[in-house]
């Protein structure tokens, strides 16, 4: 699979607001950050998939950024087995490690946003 093909899969998914990922057909490893090779076993046999968007907060921090005000940012463990960095935005104050979240993609800049699953 060419990198461009993976990129197209990601771009289409993001435009639909869905999180794409890759799954290795050899070893079963799932990962979000794209590559043409499985980072665990090196296989090129990768399956392009779409996540259901369900996950749990793995780590979270909050800070003030000069141009953005209060920022909440961290890592989400997705049910499909991969992790990714996400913004929590205004939902951050209601979240802690292991809180259930729904992750989606927003806008042309592929902003990844996690919000509490109950919303």
């Amino acid at each position: 699979m060419r990198f461009q093909e993976i990129q197209e899969h990601y771009d289409v998914a993001f435009r639909r607001g869905v999180i794409p990922f890759l799954s290795c057909e050899e070893c079963g490893k799932s990962f979000f950050y794209p590559s043409t090779r499985c980072r665990k076993c090196g296989s090129a046999r990768l399956d392009k998939r779409l996540s259901a968007g369900e996950g749990k907060v793995f780590a979270i921090t909050r800070f003030r950024a000069k141009d953005f005000g209060e920022v909440s940012y961290g890592i989400v463990q997705m049910e499909e087995g991969f992790r990714l960095y996400c913004n929590f935005e205004e939902f951050g104050s209601n979240l802690e490690v292991d809180s259930g979240v729904k992750v989606g993609a927003m806008g042309e800049t592929f902003q990844l946003l996690a919000r509490p699953r109950t919303l």
Binding site: A65, Y85, F110
Partner: protein, 383 residues
């Protein structure tokens, strides 16, 4: 072995990085009884922005050699961030031992103030220069708001607190102990003693980290000369060495609470308790805590209890960062490795002045560097 060294640090150096670099290089060579004409090996490193705000120096090592007027037969450019300084020494020793060079000048540093003035860190330099790429997949990664050393270590600290129950007060103890060590260090930025309460009342920079748990980026260079013949300093030897490079994004590691120090220290195979003191990379308090666990001083998750129950000041049973570390001198050009190495060489040579320990025969060093704690170097120097 190390025949000369020098280090100069300033909050803001009014001059070119090249100028300060040359001054530090000449001081180190002078201590070694050498001149530039004697240098036939050069080892250096680079981070974006630290040479007078330039994103990139074209053929960096050549430019350093060009400015100094050196024509080396051994030339090395390391790219391990804060771990580069420690990795330079065994490489330079090997170069000398194998006849590739007689005198290797190892030099690192730059101007943190130039990067600070742009409102970014070296790990966020893509914010000010679109030609900088942080990962092969920035387009997808940079959808998130910000990942920089502060937020990265904040996530590690928060995860450590959640998984192991580590308290803010325990992390603050690291800053308090190091400050005690620094009060007689002439290179320290902050003269007053610290308390846990004062650390925890400083502003939160990214939950759960406070301002006084983080290094301040400054200007500075360190230089170390590794020579076949040593006329001035004690003959040091590398008692143990290991390095490890984990290229994964931190979120893709098994957990955020482990560092490659786990692997580099295993490779070194040296019990850190056997050393007379330790110099541990201290970009943040949590960085020290993680390495205390990873190098084997405490079980994973028990670093907080360790710093509460162990006197790590220079008067205690296990002195760590005897000059106060870079938490107190500042972090030159976003790399603390030179600070650690200079302090180790000073201690081993009885040149640490008012903060000299008695009878230092071996020093355990661990350096961490790279984007997201990618590199770890464990080095034990002995005399």
């Amino acid at each position: 072995m190390i025949s000369g060294f020098s280090g100069k640090i300033a909050k803001k150096y009014e001059g070119s990085a090249f100028e300060l670099m040359a001054e530090v290089a000449m001081d180190a060579l002078s201590m070694a009884g050498l001149g530039l004409k004697d240098v036939d090996g050069l080892s250096t490193t680079f981070l974006p922005g630290v040479f007078d705000g330039k994103t990139h120096l074209h053929f960096q090592a050549s430019q350093v050699a060009q400015y100094l007027g050196i024509r080396p037969r051994y030339l090395d450019l390391l790219d391990f961030g804060g771990a580069s300084a420690l990795a330079m020494i065994p490489r330079a020793i090997n170069a000398v031992a194998s006849g590739l060079a007689e005198n290797v000048l190892c030099i690192l540093g730059g101007k943190g103030s130039e990067v600070r003035a742009k409102g970014v860190t070296v790990d966020g330099y893509d914010r000010v220069d679109k030609g900088v790429q942080l990962t092969p997949f920035d387009r997808y990664y940079r959808g998130g708001f910000d990942f920089n050393p502060v937020t990265d270590y904040a996530l590690a600290a928060q995860r450590h607190a959640k998984v192991f129950g580590t308290r803010d007060e325990q992390r603050a103890m690291v800053a308090v102990s190091q400050r005690k060590n620094s009060v007689t260090n002439p290179y320290a930025l902050y003269p007053e003693e610290l308390t846990v309460e004062r650390v925890l009342s400083s502003p939160v920079i990214a939950e759960p980290l406070h301002l006084l748990e983080a290094v301040y980026p400054v200007d500075g260079f360190h230089a170390f000369v590794v020579s076949k013949r040593n006329r001035t300093l004690s003959d040091l030897r590398v008692e143990a060495y290991g390095e490890a490079h984990w290229p994964e994004m931190p979120c893709e590691l098994d957990d955020l609470v482990v560092t490659p120090a786990l692997e580099s220290s295993r490779r070194a195979g040296f019990d850190p308790r056997r050393a007379d003191c330790l110099q541990i990379y201290d970009s943040f308090t949590i960085t020290v805590l993680l390495q205390i666990e990873d190098v084997g001083l405490a079980n994973k998750g028990e670093g907080g209890k360790f710093v509460e129950s162990t006197d790590t000041t220079r008067w205690g049973e296990l002195p760590i960062n005897t000059g106060g570390g870079s938490l107190n001198t500042g972090q030159p050009a976003y790399m603390s490795g030179g600070v650690l190495l200079e302090e180790a060489v000073r201690q081993l040579n009885g040149l640490a002045g008012d903060h000299q320990l008695s009878a230092v025969r071996s020093v355990f060093l661990n350096g961490i560097g790279g984007w997201g704690r990618n590199h770890s170097v464990t080095l034990v120097l002995g005399v």
